[in-house]
């Protein structure tokens, strides 16, 4: 599998950026319910990582995982309609932004609980090994999830059974509002993961090519029976943890500004040159039209709220 072009990466990242801009507007005007966890500044990780996966590979992501969902190939219309609580959404309005599922694209769920989707991917990877179907599973989580017991149980078992899993940790330096040095006894995440007996690699998470490269290598290792890999993607959330957090009370403005200048979209746009603006404009338009379509979609029939607890 060849690496996507710079233009293709930018399109993916700009789509995520546009989606978040639209969602912010909708949230501020009260048309979007619930929490909104943005991934601004982190767009290169989903773009690079998902480019190394096949549609049939498994994925779980976090409540900040809509970029992965889109990059995995799930329908923008289905995702937007779900985020807006519409009947045409991926989950018919029952899941919302934190609970996106699309089994046809290997998406086993985004999750509202930190670290909770990690075991699912390890289990799906177990079935891939059982059936020898060559699939791999990728689970993305943040540096905060590294302190959840479930994540460590899952990492241990993936290494024990030599399962085709990529543990992709987005290290954006803050677990919600708490910096690493105040939440991690050992801030060296590679050491913590490699202690389970798997390769652990750090990568510049603001460069989609580099992310693609390391994930591709991990995917190849998994497909060939070589077991799991842990990848730490260094990145930065240039906005708050969620819509009500400005993100400035626990970080300096200088630090935020420095990362904004280093944002993956800025970096890639500079590399592409004048064509970048056009790509970004196109993504804006594409997403805006999708938002209009989603807003015009029907609301779920209230009676459906009481249905579907069991299959």
């Amino acid at each position: 599998m060849e690496s996507p072009s710079a233009e293709s990466f930018l399109r993916q990242m700009a789509t995520l950026q546009a989606l978040e801009r639209e969602l912010t507007t909708l949230s501020q005007s009260g048309r979007l319910r619930g929490s909104l966890h943005l991934a601004q500044g982190q767009e290169a990780v989903p773009a690079g990582a998902c480019a190394a996966l096949q549609p049939s590979d498994y994925l779980t992501a976090t409540y900040r995982g809509h970029g992965y969902v889109l990059a995995k190939g799930c329908s923008l219309d289905g995702v937007l309609a779900e985020i807006l609580g519409k009947a045409t959404g991926l989950a018919c309005g029952k899941g919302g932004k934190m609970h996106l599922f699309d089994l046809s694209h290997g998406l086993l769920g985004t999750n509202g609980i930190v670290g909770a989707g990690v075991g699912s991917v390890v289990g799906a990877a177990l079935t891939a090994k059982m059936d020898r179907n060559g699939r791999v599973g990728l689970t993305v989580f943040g540096d905060g999830a590294i302190n959840q017991g479930h994540v460590h149980e899952a990492m241990n078992m993936a290494a024990l059974y030599q399962l085709p899993v990529i543990f992709l940790c987005e290290n954006n330096l803050y677990a919600e509002m708490t910096p690493l040095h105040r939440s991690h006894g050992n801030v060296n995440l590679l050491e913590r993961a490699s202690s389970y007996g798997m390769d652990a690699i750090q990568v510049d998470g603001n460069d989609p090519f580099k992310v693609y490269e390391v994930v591709k290598k991990a995917v190849d290792l998994g497909r060939s029976g070589g077991g799991p890999t842990f990848i730490e993607a260094l990145t930065y959330r240039t906005v708050g943890h969620y819509q009500a957090d400005a993100g400035t009370s626990y970080r300096t403005l200088e630090e935020i500004e420095e990362w904004r200048q280093n944002s993956p979209i800025k970096r890639l746009s500079a590399r592409i040159g004048p064509d970048a603006e056009k790509i970004i404009d196109e993504a804006d338009e594409l997403v805006h039209e999708a938002v209009e379509r989603a807003l015009g979609s029907p609301d779920p029939d209230p009676a459906t709220a009481l249905q579907g607890v069991f299959a």
Partner: protein, 327 residues
């Protein structure tokens, strides 16, 4: 019909389902090489191999999360949780993830996952190895709860649980595992949500499940010689609940006692009593009785434990109270 133990009956159901459906596999602690703490998985690894009978580390949250992922990927996993008490370290996976995934996905995802576990007291296993925690799982929608009391029902309900397209918590009772009984050979299915009227009666309905069914049987026999006609109903599964059988029985006897081993507060008895008084208030001739564990942790010493858990004498007393008879 031949007699086998409750544990052997579960083993037969597992073997049968593993044979008939290649998507069924098992995952849990000490289930493969060792054959299970209570021998429920004895011999399965030899027959089905280590790929389908998988020993895990002591990581309940981890392997239940894996079972969920495997179910989403098309398998029909059976996860063994050695003690129901250990579910408490995995509640996020069970109740936030396994139970909710079908609904949260708008029906797109199915979770055909059976968690086989074992609970209950009377053995001096003390506060962290003696609990019946079914009420916790009934409170959160999305997981079925099955509580057999006989070897035959254990086999039939376990097969039905594994074939169900939903998460099921199948609770064995440690006092029942060595109980012998007649069990049909070959395929045997008992549908979830079907209560069993063990003994018809006219004076009072006793609703119970799991090990306390056996205690109630003895009491009911004894009371019949004193002219008290008890209708003894084994609920067998608590979600789904066989409301029709409950309703018919209450409409016949007009008096109800609910017996269970778990605690009273926010428990099954309180829940059933609420449903019965809401829907059958005019049928009742007496307040609904509940005989349950006292609301304290399960103590260790024999004399203390029997003070807390339902006993035959306590059940007898409770039945007579509902009857309005002198105790």
């Amino acid at each position: 019909m031949r007699e086998i133990t409750f544990a052997q009956a579960c083993n037969e159901a597992l073997r049968h389902e593993l044979q008939r459906d290649s998507s069924v596999f098992m995952i849990g602690e000490d289930i493969a090489h060792y054959g299970g703490m209570f021998r429920v998985t004895d011999g399965l690894m030899a027959e089905f191999g280590e790929d389908r009978i998988i020993d895990t580390p002591i990581s309940e949250s981890g392997f239940l999360g894996m079972a969920l992922g495997a179910a989403l990927a098309g398998k029909r996993p059976v996860a063994e949780l050695m003690f129901i008490d250990f579910s408490l370290v995995a509640m996020d996976q069970i109740l936030n993830n396994i139970a909710k995934t079908h609904y949260m996905s708008g029906g797109a995802a199915k979770v055909p996952l059976t968690i086989v576990t074992q609970g209950g007291g009377y053995k001096g296993a003390a506060a962290q190895h003696s609990q019946m925690l079914e009420a916790l799982f009934l409170h959160v929608p999305g997981i079925k709860v099955v509580t057999p009391s006989t070897p035959a029902d254990a086999k039939g309900l376990l097969s039905a649980s594994i074939r169900d397209d939903n998460p099921v918590l199948f609770i064995e009772h440690k006092q029942l595992l060595n109980l012998k009984g007649h069990v049909p050979e070959g395929e045997h299915l008992v549908p979830l949500g079907s209560a069993h009227v063990i003994q018809p009666g006219t004076d009072v309905t006793v609703l119970t499940y799991s090990y306390t069914v056996q205690l109630c049987r003895n009491v009911v026999q004894e009371l019949s010689s004193f002219g008290v006609s008890v209708e003894l109903v084994d609920l067998r599964s608590l979600n789904p609940l066989d409301w029709d059988t409950i309703s018919q029985s209450v409409t016949k006897t007009h008096r109800v006692l609910i017996v269970h081993e778990s605690h009273k507060r926010c428990g099954v008895g309180v829940d059933l009593a609420a449903q019965i008084q809401e829907q059958l208030f005019d049928e009742l001739d007496a307040p609904i009785g509940i005989c349950s564990a006292a609301d304290v942790p399960i103590p260790f010493a024999a004399g203390l434990e029997s003070e807390v858990l339902p006993t035959e004498s306590r059940i007898r007393k409770a039945i007579l109270e509902v009857m309005g008879r002198e105790v």
